[in-house]
Symmetry: C2
């Protein structure tokens, strides 16, 4: 009892903990980034992210100087912190706010890029680095490490996409590049697991099929978990809270349940990112419509704010991490080797990405009849370039900053040069066009919910052959209205009761 009491007293009175220093400093910096970023909002080259990187660099330098170069690790957070606290809100908010119609219309192309494209990229980077590192005699890695390198560098960073591409300005590019980033999280986990104990002599066709099976298994189970948790939240809130809503409880459940899905996915060795993303989609389609008006406003802005703060946090971290002494020591010992490795990897990433973006876009364009649905060459270049961004925290911190800074102006320039062409493509799926089309009677679909609005009604078999994706939307919509929404709620399926969710929130 003695020591227990003593400890408690010490904690109560003298909270002397370096963690508190770090947290206080980080919060102060986050506030500074938000305020300064807002002040500089009108400048096209500077936003919160760039501000955060510079403030991070500045603070890192300051601390390095004041501690006389001894202490840079006071500001290095663990990767755990990133995967447990910082990443989940960003991915969930992306799923929650994604334009679902756009996303599912491009679903096949996203899968093509995220799965097939990542595999192509993986082999080019792995085998290319194996070959080149040996040729220039800078090979110091095991066989498995080359494959790990390939898996990591083939994964696009979805967080950076969110920062650089704008869903409203370039919806097609956004959904393709961001969707690819979500899907290839699953691909790289599969590839990494498959090639952990891999010999080149083992390559057989049965192995390849097993690999494919693993990917689909992982993709399917991760998605399913997200959908199940999302539907559970909709069902619980619809059944329990009907007629006596409690905003605080609803908001608490809507924050806790997606987080639970992410944690469960990670515990089951699934792709937490995929799970969280689909949980967000399902919750925005069902759960969000079942709660009170206050809960809707609160969750919408709370998720956006969490995501916003997490993104700034990452960029602050990137800025500070650039000054990590340990890493520079490694580089300093063998400067030419490091430079060579960096150049080779940069070249391989560029080549590997080009090797699948252009051919796969070509194949994808063959299946699309309408000219407006096709992905033009300029857009292919943007996809190639925007996807070059690599994990903000995982590996190529330096690359990331360079690519990130350059992508935004490139996208803007392409937008201004080819206004007409891009506008045509963007409007193909925008609400503006939908509003001019006859709506399915009785159901308002002006928002970005799943389901087609401009569906002609020929015989169903002919329809399936001529406009495959649209008819999928049509059947989904019928299924959704007849079976899903009556059970799980959703827009238009919550009867009116005073004080209940159906009082629409006017933005």
């Amino acid at each position: 009892m003695d020591s227990y009491l003593g400890n408690t007293v010490m904690k109560l009175a003298l909270k002397e903990d370096p963690e508190e220093h770090r947290i206080a400093l980080f919060i102060l910096l986050l506030c500074a980034c938000i305020v300064i970023g807002h002040l500089l909002e009108k400048n096209r080259w500077i936003n919160e992210s760039v501000t955060a990187i510079f403030i991070g660099l500045f603070t890192g330098t300051l601390i390095l100087v004041t501690t006389k170069g001894r202490n840079s690790h006071i500001l290095v957070f663990s990767e755990d912190l990133f995967f447990i606290y910082v990443l989940p809100p960003i991915i969930f908010n992306a799923g929650f706010q994604v334009k679902k119609k756009q996303f599912f219309r491009n679903f096949l192309m996203i899968m093509l890029f995220g799965a097939v494209g990542t595999v192509i990229s993986f082999f080019i980077i792995s085998l290319g680095s194996l070959h080149l590192f040996k040729k220039f005699d800078i090979g110091f890695l095991d066989m498995g490490d080359y494959f790990a390198l390939g898996a990591i560098l083939s994964a696009t960073d979805s967080v950076c996409t969110l920062q650089v591409l704008n869903q409203d300005e370039t919806p097609l590019l956004y959904s393709l590049v961001f969707g690819e980033g979500v899907v290839n999280d699953a691909t790289s986990i599969v590839l990494f697991k498959a090639f952990q104990r891999f010999n080149l002599s083992d390559v057989t066709s049965s192995n390849a099929i097993q690999l494919l099976g693993n990917f689909f298994y992982l993709f399917f189970t991760s998605t399913l978990l997200g959908v199940i948790v999302g539907l559970s939240s909709a069902y619980i809130i619809k059944k329990l809270y009907f007629g006596r809503h409690s905003t605080d409880r609803e908001v608490a459940l809507m924050i806790l349940m997606p987080y639970l899905s992410y944690m469960l996915a990670e515990l089951c060795y699934l792709s937490g990112i995929l799970t969280m993303f689909f949980c967000g989609i399902v919750m925005s389609h069902y759960t969000w419509h079942n709660v009170t008006e206050s809960s809707r406003v609160t969750t919408k802005h709370t998720f956006a704010t969490f995501s916003f703060v997490s993104e700034i946090f990452i960029f602050l971290y990137v800025g500070m991490d650039a000054l990590d002494i340990e890493k520079w020591k490694v580089v300093g010992q063998r400067p030419w080797t490091s430079a060579g490795v960096s150049l080779i990897l940069l070249g391989l990433v560029l080549v590997a990405r080009a090797a699948f973006v252009f051919p796969l876009s070509f194949i994808s364009n063959l299946t699309r009849k309408s000219q407006t649905d096709k992905v033009g060459f300029k857009q292919q270049v943007t996809i190639w370039w925007a996807g070059l961004m690599r994990g903000a925290v995982s590996v190529a911190l330096a690359y990331n900053q360079v690519f990130g800074l350059l992508t935004q102006p490139i996208v803007r320039q392409m937008l201004s040069l080819h206004d007409t062409q891009l506008d045509g493509i963007m409007l193909a799926d925008s609400p503006l066009k939908s509003l001019n089309d006859p709506l399915i009677p009785g159901v308002d679909d002006s928002e970005s919910d799943v389901g087609g609005t401009n569906v002609p009604r020929p015989t169903s078999l002919r329809m399936l052959l001529t406009t495959p994706t649209r008819s999928v939307h049509y059947y989904w919509r019928m299924f959704d209205d007849r079976y899903m929404r009556p059970v799980f709620g959703g827009r238009g399926f919550v009867p009116f009761i005073p004080g209940s969710p159906t009082e629409r929130y006017i933005h």
Copy 2:
């Protein structure tokens, strides 16, 4: 580079971390508590807290059984977690949602209870335990430990007050007991620091004055820090965002800045609880009125939800902690000693609390002329009993559960038995009465903002002598309207702009 890459890959692919297990389990349990608590809402004995304790106990038993009694610590979180993540939202929300008029009207009595009362209680418990432990020959503590015991057991737990007393049902009791809990956080820090290296022979009058000075210094600086951070947030949001509001940025600042104040207070060895509480009061008075309608809804419900989840978390923790094997082992070795210690401390706490609640209430009643403002005997008993709850996490987990469970029925019973008397007191400061009084022209004050609404206007000196607290309110209100609100914003002081905060949110 090798090991860095290797680590990253391991993290990406095989996130095998006990922390994730704990988090996932805790989130699952939190969801269960919310759902079950809501289902059992109509039962007067069971709410989320009680549900949480039982679910905690049940889960603890389950884990104890499945791990065959080896592993109970898989579920024991650190005290850091409590002080850094769980406590701040509860205290801030309390300040943010507190009825400010009620709180400041009873400010002197709260200070009397929180400062003088805690000192009386501290001496009775410290010296009483010193004396009794020696008498029954179970003394195994140092001199300093007795004083630590006195400091800890004299501090009321404000979190439990929030759970058990209802601000709307019993506003006077709530503000007295909760206010005392906030203020005595500062008192116990001062007492603990003062008596760390204390000898009984050192007692002089100059020491006592120094002690008093320390308390006022700590109280004043902690409050000031909270007020400064709160006003800064109001000023930043008013100046920066005026005319071009961004809900996400506003919400982010309104979440980050109070948290910053708490962390700064802890770093400066001040009372984080006091700082956070006053920051909440200032932010609800100024900042909240400067933001967009969406931000207001979002922050109000986000703070309430965080506080709600944190409270459930604490009760879950308490339920699980009851099964902590290490503690039971200590008890098991000397069962009679432990029982004796518990009984003596329980008795001392009861006596010490009675020793200041009744005399101080008597003194306080002498200064109040109006019968409705006086604190009746029944209410004194409730204050005495409700304040017996001790820190949910810090020490007396067992006591806490017992007292917490018994207090709610006692309060309810007293309410139903003495409806008329209590109603009179409750209505003395309720909005219902305010509405019947003439309002100060031009300023709507039907909410619980600081400032008197029913102020007569005699000559100011006579007024100051006859109704001291009311005239303080009056002068504060004049000062607030003339100097504070024009600078920091607040209700009625943000000019109308379409889409800006002045469009009132209709609940």
